[in-house]
Symmetry: C2
Subunit: 317 residues, 2 copies
Protein backbone atom coordinates (compact mmCIF):
# COMPACT_ATOMS: atom_id res chain seq x y z
CA UNK A 1 0.00 0.00 0.00
CA UNK A 2 1.25 3.50 -0.81
CA UNK A 3 1.96 5.80 2.10
CA UNK A 4 0.36 8.76 0.38
CA UNK A 5 -1.08 10.56 3.40
CA UNK A 6 0.31 12.46 6.37
CA UNK A 7 -1.11 12.92 9.83
CA UNK A 8 -1.36 16.43 11.27
CA UNK A 9 -1.79 17.75 14.79
CA UNK A 10 -2.65 21.39 15.53
CA UNK A 11 -2.29 22.16 19.23
CA UNK A 12 -3.57 25.46 20.54
CA UNK A 13 -4.76 26.93 23.82
CA UNK A 14 -8.41 26.38 22.86
CA UNK A 15 -8.49 23.17 20.86
CA UNK A 16 -6.44 20.20 19.80
CA UNK A 17 -7.19 19.18 16.23
CA UNK A 18 -5.92 16.22 14.25
CA UNK A 19 -6.36 15.14 10.65
CA UNK A 20 -5.22 12.82 7.91
CA UNK A 21 -4.25 14.93 4.92
CA UNK A 22 -3.70 13.89 1.32
CA UNK A 23 -1.15 15.14 -1.19
CA UNK A 24 -3.43 17.96 -2.28
CA UNK A 25 -4.04 19.26 1.22
CA UNK A 26 -7.45 17.61 1.37
CA UNK A 27 -8.57 16.56 4.85
CA UNK A 28 -9.85 12.95 4.78
CA UNK A 29 -10.35 12.40 8.50
CA UNK A 30 -10.66 14.97 11.23
CA UNK A 31 -10.77 14.70 15.01
CA UNK A 32 -10.85 17.41 17.68
CA UNK A 33 -10.97 17.96 21.46
CA UNK A 34 -11.10 21.12 23.57
CA UNK A 35 -7.72 21.85 25.20
CA UNK A 36 -8.04 21.41 28.97
CA UNK A 37 -5.53 24.25 29.19
CA UNK A 38 -5.95 24.96 32.93
CA UNK A 39 -5.55 21.32 33.97
CA UNK A 40 -2.54 19.18 34.74
CA UNK A 41 -0.18 18.46 31.85
CA UNK A 42 -1.25 14.81 31.74
CA UNK A 43 -4.86 15.84 31.17
CA UNK A 44 -3.75 17.86 28.15
CA UNK A 45 -1.76 14.90 26.88
CA UNK A 46 -4.81 12.65 27.32
CA UNK A 47 -6.71 14.94 24.96
CA UNK A 48 -3.90 14.72 22.41
CA UNK A 49 -3.87 10.94 22.71
CA UNK A 50 -7.66 10.83 22.23
CA UNK A 51 -7.32 12.81 19.03
CA UNK A 52 -4.51 10.58 17.75
CA UNK A 53 -6.30 7.35 18.65
CA UNK A 54 -9.25 8.58 16.63
CA UNK A 55 -6.93 8.99 13.65
CA UNK A 56 -5.19 5.63 14.06
CA UNK A 57 -8.60 3.95 14.11
CA UNK A 58 -9.29 5.22 10.60
CA UNK A 59 -9.03 2.73 7.73
CA UNK A 60 -6.72 5.30 6.08
CA UNK A 61 -4.13 5.10 8.89
CA UNK A 62 -1.92 2.44 7.17
CA UNK A 63 -1.38 4.96 4.34
CA UNK A 64 0.15 7.55 6.69
CA UNK A 65 3.85 8.31 6.02
CA UNK A 66 4.64 10.72 8.84
CA UNK A 67 3.23 13.14 11.42
CA UNK A 68 3.54 16.91 11.44
CA UNK A 69 2.79 18.79 14.66
CA UNK A 70 2.14 22.51 14.84
CA UNK A 71 1.92 23.75 18.41
CA UNK A 72 1.45 26.99 20.26
CA UNK A 73 4.92 28.09 21.25
CA UNK A 74 7.54 28.21 22.29
CA UNK A 75 8.40 24.74 21.03
CA UNK A 76 11.78 23.05 20.91
CA UNK A 77 12.10 20.82 17.89
CA UNK A 78 15.65 19.90 18.89
CA UNK A 79 14.37 18.14 22.03
CA UNK A 80 10.80 17.43 20.93
CA UNK A 81 9.39 19.46 23.80
CA UNK A 82 6.78 22.21 24.03
CA UNK A 83 6.04 24.99 26.55
CA UNK A 84 2.95 26.79 25.21
CA UNK A 85 2.38 30.09 26.98
CA UNK A 86 -1.36 29.35 27.27
CA UNK A 87 -0.94 25.79 28.57
CA UNK A 88 0.84 26.22 31.91
CA UNK A 89 0.77 22.46 32.63
CA UNK A 90 3.20 21.94 29.77
CA UNK A 91 6.66 23.31 30.43
CA UNK A 92 9.34 21.46 28.53
CA UNK A 93 6.73 18.77 27.97
CA UNK A 94 8.13 15.84 25.92
CA UNK A 95 5.35 15.88 23.35
CA UNK A 96 7.19 14.02 20.59
CA UNK A 97 8.19 11.15 22.91
CA UNK A 98 4.67 10.95 24.23
CA UNK A 99 2.89 10.86 20.85
CA UNK A 100 5.17 7.95 19.91
CA UNK A 101 3.31 5.81 22.44
CA UNK A 102 0.33 6.08 20.09
CA UNK A 103 1.89 6.33 16.64
CA UNK A 104 5.01 4.16 17.05
CA UNK A 105 7.99 4.78 14.84
CA UNK A 106 6.52 7.16 12.24
CA UNK A 107 8.78 10.14 11.45
CA UNK A 108 7.61 13.23 13.36
CA UNK A 109 8.27 16.94 12.86
CA UNK A 110 7.42 19.59 15.44
CA UNK A 111 7.10 23.29 14.57
CA UNK A 112 5.57 26.39 16.13
CA UNK A 113 2.08 27.42 15.03
CA UNK A 114 3.37 30.42 13.08
CA UNK A 115 5.68 28.14 11.13
CA UNK A 116 2.80 25.75 10.44
CA UNK A 117 0.59 28.57 9.13
CA UNK A 118 3.47 29.60 6.89
CA UNK A 119 3.84 26.07 5.54
CA UNK A 120 0.14 26.07 4.68
CA UNK A 121 0.25 29.41 2.88
CA UNK A 122 3.35 28.32 0.96
CA UNK A 123 1.89 24.96 0.01
CA UNK A 124 -1.58 26.02 -1.07
CA UNK A 125 -2.17 29.67 -0.17
CA UNK A 126 -1.05 33.21 -0.80
CA UNK A 127 2.69 32.42 -0.72
CA UNK A 128 2.41 29.59 -3.24
CA UNK A 129 5.11 29.84 -5.88
CA UNK A 130 7.20 32.25 -3.79
CA UNK A 131 10.61 30.89 -2.82
CA UNK A 132 11.22 33.57 -0.19
CA UNK A 133 8.28 34.59 1.93
CA UNK A 134 7.28 35.79 5.37
CA UNK A 135 3.88 34.87 6.78
CA UNK A 136 2.46 36.63 9.83
CA UNK A 137 -0.42 35.86 12.14
CA UNK A 138 -1.72 39.05 13.74
CA UNK A 139 -4.23 38.12 16.38
CA UNK A 140 -4.14 37.99 20.21
CA UNK A 141 -0.41 37.68 19.66
CA UNK A 142 1.78 38.23 16.62
CA UNK A 143 3.60 35.21 15.19
CA UNK A 144 5.01 34.16 11.88
CA UNK A 145 7.23 31.95 9.83
CA UNK A 146 9.65 32.00 6.90
CA UNK A 147 10.12 30.27 3.58
CA UNK A 148 13.68 30.65 2.30
CA UNK A 149 15.06 29.27 -0.94
CA UNK A 150 11.79 27.47 -1.62
CA UNK A 151 11.77 25.62 1.69
CA UNK A 152 10.20 26.15 5.08
CA UNK A 153 12.78 27.62 7.49
CA UNK A 154 11.66 26.47 10.94
CA UNK A 155 15.04 27.01 12.57
CA UNK A 156 16.76 24.51 14.84
CA UNK A 157 14.06 24.76 17.51
CA UNK A 158 11.08 25.28 15.18
CA UNK A 159 10.39 28.88 16.24
CA UNK A 160 11.96 30.92 13.42
CA UNK A 161 9.92 33.81 12.05
CA UNK A 162 8.70 34.83 15.51
CA UNK A 163 8.28 38.40 14.33
CA UNK A 164 6.01 39.49 17.18
CA UNK A 165 8.97 39.69 19.51
CA UNK A 166 11.44 41.74 17.59
CA UNK A 167 11.87 45.23 18.95
CA UNK A 168 11.00 48.13 16.66
CA UNK A 169 11.31 50.69 19.46
CA UNK A 170 14.50 50.43 21.51
CA UNK A 171 12.95 52.33 24.41
CA UNK A 172 9.35 51.34 23.78
CA UNK A 173 6.82 49.88 26.20
CA UNK A 174 7.87 46.86 28.22
CA UNK A 175 6.57 43.65 26.66
CA UNK A 176 5.48 40.66 28.78
CA UNK A 177 8.38 38.76 27.13
CA UNK A 178 10.81 41.04 28.99
CA UNK A 179 11.98 43.05 25.99
CA UNK A 180 10.82 46.51 24.92
CA UNK A 181 9.00 47.87 21.91
CA UNK A 182 8.09 44.45 20.52
CA UNK A 183 5.88 44.34 17.42
CA UNK A 184 3.28 42.37 19.36
CA UNK A 185 3.18 45.05 22.07
CA UNK A 186 2.10 47.54 19.39
CA UNK A 187 0.27 45.57 16.70
CA UNK A 188 -1.65 42.73 18.36
CA UNK A 189 -5.44 42.94 18.53
CA UNK A 190 -5.61 43.64 22.27
CA UNK A 191 -2.99 46.39 21.92
CA UNK A 192 -4.88 48.01 19.03
CA UNK A 193 -8.00 48.03 21.20
CA UNK A 194 -6.16 49.22 24.33
CA UNK A 195 -4.60 52.14 22.45
CA UNK A 196 -7.94 53.19 20.95
CA UNK A 197 -9.66 53.10 24.34
CA UNK A 198 -6.84 55.10 25.92
CA UNK A 199 -7.21 57.65 23.12
CA UNK A 200 -10.87 58.15 23.94
CA UNK A 201 -12.55 55.78 21.49
CA UNK A 202 -15.79 54.28 22.83
CA UNK A 203 -17.28 51.08 21.47
CA UNK A 204 -20.52 51.21 19.48
CA UNK A 205 -23.94 49.91 20.58
CA UNK A 206 -22.75 46.33 20.11
CA UNK A 207 -20.22 46.88 22.90
CA UNK A 208 -17.41 45.33 20.84
CA UNK A 209 -14.19 46.50 22.52
CA UNK A 210 -11.92 44.26 20.44
CA UNK A 211 -9.75 45.24 17.48
CA UNK A 212 -12.70 44.30 15.25
CA UNK A 213 -14.73 47.01 16.98
CA UNK A 214 -11.90 49.48 16.45
CA UNK A 215 -11.74 48.45 12.79
CA UNK A 216 -15.45 49.14 12.36
CA UNK A 217 -14.99 52.58 13.91
CA UNK A 218 -11.99 53.24 11.66
CA UNK A 219 -14.09 52.40 8.62
CA UNK A 220 -16.59 55.02 9.76
CA UNK A 221 -13.78 57.55 9.95
CA UNK A 222 -13.15 57.67 13.69
CA UNK A 223 -9.73 59.38 13.92
CA UNK A 224 -8.58 57.62 17.12
CA UNK A 225 -9.48 54.23 15.69
CA UNK A 226 -7.70 55.05 12.43
CA UNK A 227 -4.63 56.22 14.35
CA UNK A 228 -4.48 53.03 16.40
CA UNK A 229 -4.48 50.89 13.24
CA UNK A 230 -1.93 53.20 11.62
CA UNK A 231 0.44 52.70 14.53
CA UNK A 232 0.02 48.92 14.35
CA UNK A 233 0.63 49.11 10.60
CA UNK A 234 3.79 51.16 11.17
CA UNK A 235 5.22 48.55 13.55
CA UNK A 236 4.31 45.69 11.22
CA UNK A 237 5.84 47.55 8.25
CA UNK A 238 9.13 48.13 10.07
CA UNK A 239 9.28 44.46 11.06
CA UNK A 240 8.41 43.20 7.59
CA UNK A 241 11.02 45.54 6.08
CA UNK A 242 13.58 44.34 8.63
CA UNK A 243 12.88 40.74 7.67
CA UNK A 244 13.25 41.51 3.97
CA UNK A 245 16.50 43.36 4.63
CA UNK A 246 17.85 40.46 6.68
CA UNK A 247 16.89 37.44 4.58
CA UNK A 248 15.45 38.76 1.28
CA UNK A 249 11.78 37.94 0.83
CA UNK A 250 9.52 39.14 -1.95
CA UNK A 251 6.14 38.66 -0.30
CA UNK A 252 4.64 39.06 3.15
CA UNK A 253 1.37 37.26 3.84
CA UNK A 254 -0.68 38.62 6.73
CA UNK A 255 -3.34 36.51 8.42
CA UNK A 256 -5.01 36.25 11.82
CA UNK A 257 -8.04 38.03 13.20
CA UNK A 258 -6.57 41.53 12.92
CA UNK A 259 -5.96 41.00 9.19
CA UNK A 260 -9.74 40.67 8.95
CA UNK A 261 -9.82 44.47 9.27
CA UNK A 262 -8.95 44.50 5.56
CA UNK A 263 -8.08 47.88 4.08
CA UNK A 264 -8.14 49.49 7.53
CA UNK A 265 -4.93 47.57 8.15
CA UNK A 266 -3.54 46.88 4.67
CA UNK A 267 -3.73 50.43 3.29
CA UNK A 268 -1.60 52.04 6.03
CA UNK A 269 0.60 48.93 6.13
CA UNK A 270 1.48 49.20 2.44
CA UNK A 271 1.99 52.95 2.81
CA UNK A 272 4.30 52.54 5.82
CA UNK A 273 6.23 49.79 4.07
CA UNK A 274 7.34 52.28 1.44
CA UNK A 275 8.94 54.31 4.26
CA UNK A 276 10.86 51.41 5.81
CA UNK A 277 11.66 49.12 2.86
CA UNK A 278 13.95 51.54 1.05
CA UNK A 279 16.97 49.54 -0.19
CA UNK A 280 16.93 48.46 -3.83
CA UNK A 281 16.63 44.77 -3.05
CA UNK A 282 13.59 45.11 -0.77
CA UNK A 283 11.61 47.77 -2.61
CA UNK A 284 9.66 45.23 -4.66
CA UNK A 285 8.17 43.54 -1.61
CA UNK A 286 4.40 43.04 -1.68
CA UNK A 287 1.96 42.49 1.19
CA UNK A 288 -1.15 40.36 0.74
CA UNK A 289 -3.80 38.84 3.02
CA UNK A 290 -3.60 35.18 4.01
CA UNK A 291 -6.12 32.89 2.35
CA UNK A 292 -5.94 29.56 4.17
CA UNK A 293 -8.52 30.25 6.86
CA UNK A 294 -9.35 28.06 9.82
CA UNK A 295 -7.71 24.87 8.54
CA UNK A 296 -4.32 26.57 8.05
CA UNK A 297 -2.99 25.02 11.26
CA UNK A 298 -3.84 21.45 10.24
CA UNK A 299 -2.84 21.82 6.60
CA UNK A 300 0.36 23.56 7.69
CA UNK A 301 1.23 20.83 10.18
CA UNK A 302 0.76 18.38 7.31
CA UNK A 303 2.98 20.50 5.07
CA UNK A 304 5.69 20.55 7.76
CA UNK A 305 5.60 16.76 8.16
CA UNK A 306 9.01 15.19 7.54
CA UNK A 307 7.86 12.82 4.79
CA UNK A 308 5.51 14.41 2.32
CA UNK A 309 3.71 12.25 -0.23
CA UNK A 310 5.68 12.29 -3.47
CA UNK A 311 3.76 13.92 -6.26
CA UNK A 312 2.03 16.11 -3.73
CA UNK A 313 -0.51 18.29 -5.47
CA UNK A 314 -1.09 15.85 -8.31
CA UNK A 315 -2.01 12.93 -6.06
CA UNK A 316 -5.73 13.49 -5.81
CA UNK A 317 -6.27 14.14 -9.50
Amino acid sequence: MHTDLVAALDIGGTKIAGALVDGSGGILVRNQRPTPAREHGEAVMDAVTDVLVGLTASPYWPRVASLGIGSAGPVDASTGTVSPVNVPGWRGFPLVDRVRRTIGGLPVALVGDGVAMTAAEHWLGAARGHDDALCLVVSTGVGGGLVLGGKLHPGVTGNAGHIGHISVELNGDLCPCGSRGCVERIASGPNIARRALLGGWLPGPDGDVTAAGVAAAARSGHPVAIASFERAAQALAAAIAATATLVEIDIAVVGGGVAGAGDVLFTPLRRALRNYATLSFVRGLTVVPAVMGTDAGLVGAAAAAPVRPAGAVALST
Copy 2:
Protein backbone atom coordinates in the same frame (compact mmCIF):
# COMPACT_ATOMS: atom_id res chain seq x y z
CA MET B 1 45.45 18.94 -13.46
CA HIS B 2 43.20 19.35 -10.42
CA THR B 3 41.19 22.52 -10.16
CA ASP B 4 41.98 22.90 -6.48
CA LEU B 5 42.03 26.70 -6.26
CA VAL B 6 39.50 29.51 -6.50
CA ALA B 7 39.94 33.09 -7.62
CA ALA B 8 38.65 35.87 -5.37
CA LEU B 9 37.84 39.54 -6.01
CA ASP B 10 37.21 42.03 -3.22
CA ILE B 11 35.85 45.30 -4.56
CA GLY B 12 35.60 48.27 -2.21
CA GLY B 13 35.50 52.02 -2.44
CA THR B 14 39.22 52.29 -1.67
CA LYS B 15 40.86 49.27 -3.27
CA ILE B 16 40.23 46.39 -5.63
CA ALA B 17 41.99 43.24 -4.47
CA GLY B 18 42.29 39.87 -6.17
CA ALA B 19 43.79 36.56 -5.11
CA LEU B 20 44.09 32.89 -5.85
CA VAL B 21 43.08 30.97 -2.77
CA ASP B 22 43.67 27.34 -1.87
CA GLY B 23 41.42 24.90 -0.06
CA SER B 24 42.73 26.00 3.32
CA GLY B 25 42.13 29.69 2.71
CA GLY B 26 45.78 30.29 1.96
CA ILE B 27 46.48 33.12 -0.49
CA LEU B 28 48.91 31.95 -3.19
CA VAL B 29 48.83 34.97 -5.47
CA ARG B 30 47.66 38.48 -4.68
CA ASN B 31 47.08 41.54 -6.82
CA GLN B 32 45.69 44.95 -5.94
CA ARG B 33 44.82 48.40 -7.41
CA PRO B 34 43.39 51.55 -5.85
CA THR B 35 39.73 52.05 -6.78
CA PRO B 36 39.39 55.10 -9.04
CA ALA B 37 36.07 55.62 -7.29
CA ARG B 38 35.45 59.17 -8.55
CA GLU B 39 36.17 58.34 -12.18
CA HIS B 40 33.99 57.01 -14.98
CA GLY B 41 32.68 53.47 -14.59
CA GLU B 42 34.96 52.19 -17.34
CA ALA B 43 38.02 53.41 -15.43
CA VAL B 44 36.90 51.38 -12.43
CA MET B 45 36.38 48.36 -14.65
CA ASP B 46 39.86 48.82 -16.13
CA ALA B 47 41.28 48.51 -12.61
CA VAL B 48 39.30 45.30 -12.05
CA THR B 49 40.55 43.91 -15.35
CA ASP B 50 44.15 44.79 -14.43
CA VAL B 51 43.79 42.86 -11.19
CA LEU B 52 42.26 39.86 -12.96
CA VAL B 53 44.84 39.84 -15.76
CA GLY B 54 47.53 39.71 -13.09
CA LEU B 55 45.86 36.62 -11.67
CA THR B 56 45.35 34.88 -15.02
CA ALA B 57 49.06 35.37 -15.76
CA SER B 58 49.95 33.24 -12.74
CA PRO B 59 51.18 29.68 -13.38
CA TYR B 60 48.48 28.62 -10.86
CA TRP B 61 45.63 29.97 -13.02
CA PRO B 62 44.88 26.64 -14.78
CA ARG B 63 44.09 25.17 -11.35
CA VAL B 64 41.29 27.73 -10.71
CA ALA B 65 37.80 26.21 -10.50
CA SER B 66 35.67 29.31 -10.11
CA LEU B 67 35.57 32.99 -9.15
CA GLY B 68 33.95 34.53 -6.09
CA ILE B 69 33.33 38.28 -6.04
CA GLY B 70 32.57 40.26 -2.91
CA SER B 71 31.62 43.84 -3.67
CA ALA B 72 30.54 46.94 -1.83
CA GLY B 73 26.76 47.02 -2.16
CA PRO B 74 24.13 47.04 -3.13
CA VAL B 75 24.81 44.20 -5.53
CA ASP B 76 22.34 42.17 -7.57
CA ALA B 77 23.44 38.59 -7.93
CA SER B 78 20.32 37.78 -9.93
CA THR B 79 21.46 40.07 -12.76
CA GLY B 80 25.22 40.11 -12.05
CA THR B 81 25.20 43.86 -11.56
CA VAL B 82 26.58 46.16 -8.86
CA SER B 83 25.76 49.70 -7.68
CA PRO B 84 28.24 50.45 -4.87
CA VAL B 85 27.22 53.55 -2.92
CA ASN B 86 30.85 54.76 -2.93
CA VAL B 87 31.45 54.16 -6.63
CA PRO B 88 29.00 56.51 -8.39
CA GLY B 89 30.24 55.51 -11.86
CA TRP B 90 28.77 52.05 -11.32
CA ARG B 91 24.99 51.98 -11.25
CA GLY B 92 23.57 48.66 -12.34
CA PHE B 93 27.03 47.97 -13.75
CA PRO B 94 27.19 44.52 -15.41
CA LEU B 95 30.24 43.36 -13.47
CA VAL B 96 29.77 39.62 -13.97
CA ASP B 97 29.39 39.95 -17.75
CA ARG B 98 32.42 42.21 -17.89
CA VAL B 99 34.76 39.97 -15.86
CA ARG B 100 33.91 37.13 -18.25
CA ARG B 101 35.85 38.96 -20.96
CA THR B 102 38.94 38.16 -18.90
CA ILE B 103 38.12 34.85 -17.21
CA GLY B 104 35.97 33.18 -19.86
CA GLY B 105 33.45 30.55 -18.84
CA LEU B 106 34.48 29.95 -15.22
CA PRO B 107 31.54 29.79 -12.80
CA VAL B 108 31.14 33.12 -10.99
CA ALA B 109 29.35 34.07 -7.77
CA LEU B 110 28.65 37.65 -6.73
CA VAL B 111 27.82 38.64 -3.13
CA GLY B 112 27.82 41.81 -1.06
CA ASP B 113 30.87 42.55 1.09
CA GLY B 114 29.04 41.79 4.33
CA VAL B 115 28.10 38.38 2.98
CA ALA B 116 31.73 37.78 1.93
CA MET B 117 33.03 38.68 5.40
CA THR B 118 30.48 36.25 6.84
CA ALA B 119 31.65 33.48 4.53
CA ALA B 120 35.22 34.06 5.74
CA GLU B 121 34.31 33.97 9.43
CA HIS B 122 32.26 30.82 8.87
CA TRP B 123 34.96 29.08 6.86
CA LEU B 124 37.97 29.86 9.01
CA GLY B 125 37.06 32.38 11.68
CA ALA B 126 34.90 33.00 14.73
CA ALA B 127 31.76 31.42 13.27
CA ARG B 128 33.51 28.19 12.27
CA GLY B 129 31.50 25.16 13.31
CA HIS B 130 28.32 27.21 13.81
CA ASP B 131 25.48 26.24 11.48
CA ASP B 132 23.43 29.36 12.21
CA ALA B 133 25.34 32.60 12.57
CA LEU B 134 25.12 36.32 11.98
CA CYS B 135 28.27 38.29 11.18
CA LEU B 136 28.33 42.09 11.37
CA VAL B 137 30.77 44.67 10.09
CA VAL B 138 30.51 47.84 12.19
CA SER B 139 32.60 50.52 10.55
CA THR B 140 31.78 53.61 8.46
CA GLY B 141 28.58 51.72 7.74
CA VAL B 142 27.02 48.65 9.31
CA GLY B 143 26.72 45.53 7.16
CA GLY B 144 26.46 41.83 7.72
CA GLY B 145 25.62 38.39 6.49
CA LEU B 146 24.00 35.13 7.55
CA VAL B 147 24.84 31.47 7.74
CA LEU B 148 21.71 29.31 7.99
CA GLY B 149 21.60 25.55 8.25
CA GLY B 150 25.35 25.36 7.78
CA LYS B 151 25.35 27.31 4.52
CA LEU B 152 25.90 30.91 3.52
CA HIS B 153 22.55 32.64 2.96
CA PRO B 154 23.29 35.40 0.45
CA GLY B 155 19.67 35.79 -0.62
CA VAL B 156 18.51 36.00 -4.22
CA THR B 157 20.34 39.28 -4.84
CA GLY B 158 23.38 38.61 -2.60
CA ASN B 159 22.51 41.29 -0.03
CA ALA B 160 20.94 39.27 2.81
CA GLY B 161 22.07 40.11 6.35
CA HIS B 162 22.11 43.83 5.65
CA ILE B 163 21.48 44.54 9.32
CA GLY B 164 22.60 48.19 9.20
CA HIS B 165 19.35 49.16 7.55
CA ILE B 166 16.76 47.58 9.77
CA SER B 167 14.85 50.08 11.89
CA VAL B 168 15.09 49.72 15.65
CA GLU B 169 13.34 53.05 16.26
CA LEU B 170 10.10 53.52 14.36
CA ASN B 171 10.24 57.29 14.73
CA GLY B 172 14.00 57.60 14.95
CA ASP B 173 16.34 59.87 13.01
CA LEU B 174 16.04 59.89 9.24
CA CYS B 175 18.67 57.65 7.63
CA PRO B 176 20.29 58.50 4.27
CA CYS B 177 18.65 55.29 2.96
CA GLY B 178 15.25 56.97 3.40
CA SER B 179 14.07 54.94 6.38
CA ARG B 180 14.13 55.96 10.05
CA GLY B 181 15.95 54.68 13.13
CA CYS B 182 18.26 52.37 11.17
CA VAL B 183 20.94 50.52 13.14
CA GLU B 184 23.63 52.19 11.02
CA ARG B 185 22.22 55.65 11.87
CA ILE B 186 22.88 54.86 15.55
CA ALA B 187 25.80 52.42 15.68
CA SER B 188 28.22 53.26 12.85
CA GLY B 189 31.57 54.81 13.72
CA PRO B 190 30.70 58.28 12.38
CA ASN B 191 27.43 58.26 14.32
CA ILE B 192 29.16 57.20 17.55
CA ALA B 193 31.56 60.12 17.10
CA ARG B 194 28.85 62.58 16.08
CA ARG B 195 26.76 61.75 19.15
CA ALA B 196 29.76 62.10 21.49
CA LEU B 197 30.66 65.48 20.01
CA LEU B 198 27.05 66.67 20.29
CA GLY B 199 27.08 65.58 23.92
CA GLY B 200 30.08 67.77 24.67
CA TRP B 201 32.95 65.29 24.31
CA LEU B 202 36.16 66.89 23.02
CA PRO B 203 38.95 64.91 21.39
CA GLY B 204 42.26 64.43 23.18
CA PRO B 205 45.61 65.98 22.25
CA ASP B 206 45.89 63.64 19.25
CA GLY B 207 42.81 65.30 17.78
CA ASP B 208 41.18 61.94 16.96
CA VAL B 209 37.51 62.72 16.40
CA THR B 210 36.62 59.23 15.16
CA ALA B 211 34.91 56.42 17.05
CA ALA B 212 38.39 55.21 18.03
CA GLY B 213 38.95 58.53 19.80
CA VAL B 214 35.59 58.16 21.54
CA ALA B 215 36.55 54.60 22.56
CA ALA B 216 39.80 55.85 24.10
CA ALA B 217 37.85 58.46 26.07
CA ALA B 218 35.33 55.83 27.18
CA ARG B 219 38.17 53.67 28.48
CA SER B 220 39.29 56.65 30.60
CA GLY B 221 35.78 56.89 32.02
CA HIS B 222 34.41 59.83 30.03
CA PRO B 223 30.64 59.55 30.63
CA VAL B 224 29.55 61.06 27.30
CA ALA B 225 31.87 58.73 25.40
CA ILE B 226 30.60 55.73 27.38
CA ALA B 227 27.00 56.76 26.74
CA SER B 228 27.58 57.04 23.00
CA PHE B 229 28.97 53.50 22.86
CA GLU B 230 26.14 52.25 25.08
CA ARG B 231 23.56 53.63 22.68
CA ALA B 232 25.32 52.00 19.73
CA ALA B 233 25.46 48.75 21.70
CA GLN B 234 21.75 48.99 22.46
CA ALA B 235 20.87 49.36 18.76
CA LEU B 236 23.17 46.49 17.79
CA ALA B 237 21.74 44.30 20.56
CA ALA B 238 18.15 44.91 19.43
CA ALA B 239 19.10 44.10 15.85
CA ILE B 240 21.03 40.96 16.77
CA ALA B 241 18.15 39.80 18.96
CA ALA B 242 15.71 40.52 16.11
CA THR B 243 17.81 38.40 13.77
CA ALA B 244 17.95 35.54 16.25
CA THR B 245 14.19 35.75 16.78
CA LEU B 246 13.56 35.74 13.04
CA VAL B 247 15.91 33.02 11.80
CA GLU B 248 17.44 31.34 14.90
CA ILE B 249 21.19 31.90 15.21
CA ASP B 250 23.40 30.89 18.10
CA ILE B 251 26.32 33.25 17.54
CA ALA B 252 26.84 36.82 16.39
CA VAL B 253 30.34 37.75 15.20
CA VAL B 254 31.13 41.47 15.24
CA GLY B 255 33.97 42.89 13.16
CA GLY B 256 34.91 46.17 11.53
CA GLY B 257 36.76 49.16 12.93
CA VAL B 258 34.24 49.93 15.67
CA ALA B 259 34.63 46.39 17.04
CA GLY B 260 38.26 47.37 17.68
CA ALA B 261 36.91 49.31 20.68
CA GLY B 262 36.85 45.93 22.44
CA ASP B 263 35.17 45.84 25.84
CA VAL B 264 33.98 49.42 25.40
CA LEU B 265 31.58 47.99 22.83
CA PHE B 266 31.25 44.32 23.78
CA THR B 267 30.45 44.76 27.50
CA PRO B 268 27.39 46.99 26.97
CA LEU B 269 26.46 44.97 23.88
CA ARG B 270 26.30 41.70 25.83
CA ARG B 271 24.43 43.45 28.66
CA ALA B 272 21.86 44.96 26.28
CA LEU B 273 21.42 41.65 24.50
CA ARG B 274 20.06 40.14 27.71
CA ASN B 275 17.32 42.80 27.61
CA TYR B 276 16.26 42.16 24.02
CA ALA B 277 16.95 38.45 23.47
CA THR B 278 14.37 37.18 25.94
CA LEU B 279 12.58 34.24 24.33
CA SER B 280 13.73 30.77 25.33
CA PHE B 281 15.16 29.91 21.91
CA VAL B 282 17.35 33.02 21.63
CA ARG B 283 18.59 33.34 25.20
CA GLY B 284 21.69 31.22 24.56
CA LEU B 285 23.02 33.57 21.87
CA THR B 286 26.66 34.60 22.25
CA VAL B 287 28.49 37.61 20.81
CA VAL B 288 32.17 37.42 19.90
CA PRO B 289 34.67 39.57 18.00
CA ALA B 290 35.57 38.74 14.40
CA VAL B 291 39.02 37.25 13.87
CA MET B 292 39.67 37.26 10.12
CA GLY B 293 41.24 40.70 9.85
CA THR B 294 42.15 42.50 6.67
CA ASP B 295 42.02 39.48 4.33
CA ALA B 296 38.45 38.63 5.30
CA GLY B 297 37.12 40.16 2.08
CA LEU B 298 39.35 38.07 -0.18
CA VAL B 299 39.03 34.85 1.82
CA GLY B 300 35.28 35.40 2.02
CA ALA B 301 34.94 35.97 -1.71
CA ALA B 302 36.82 32.70 -2.16
CA ALA B 303 34.49 30.98 0.32
CA ALA B 304 31.47 32.30 -1.60
CA ALA B 305 32.80 31.03 -4.94
CA PRO B 306 30.37 28.66 -6.63
CA VAL B 307 32.80 25.74 -6.94
CA ARG B 308 34.89 25.19 -3.86
CA PRO B 309 37.80 22.77 -4.00
CA ALA B 310 36.63 19.38 -2.74
CA GLY B 311 38.38 18.38 0.45
CA ALA B 312 38.73 22.05 1.32
CA VAL B 313 40.66 22.43 4.54
CA ALA B 314 42.63 19.22 4.03
CA LEU B 315 44.02 20.21 0.63
CA SER B 316 47.17 21.97 1.71
CA THR B 317 48.20 19.37 4.26
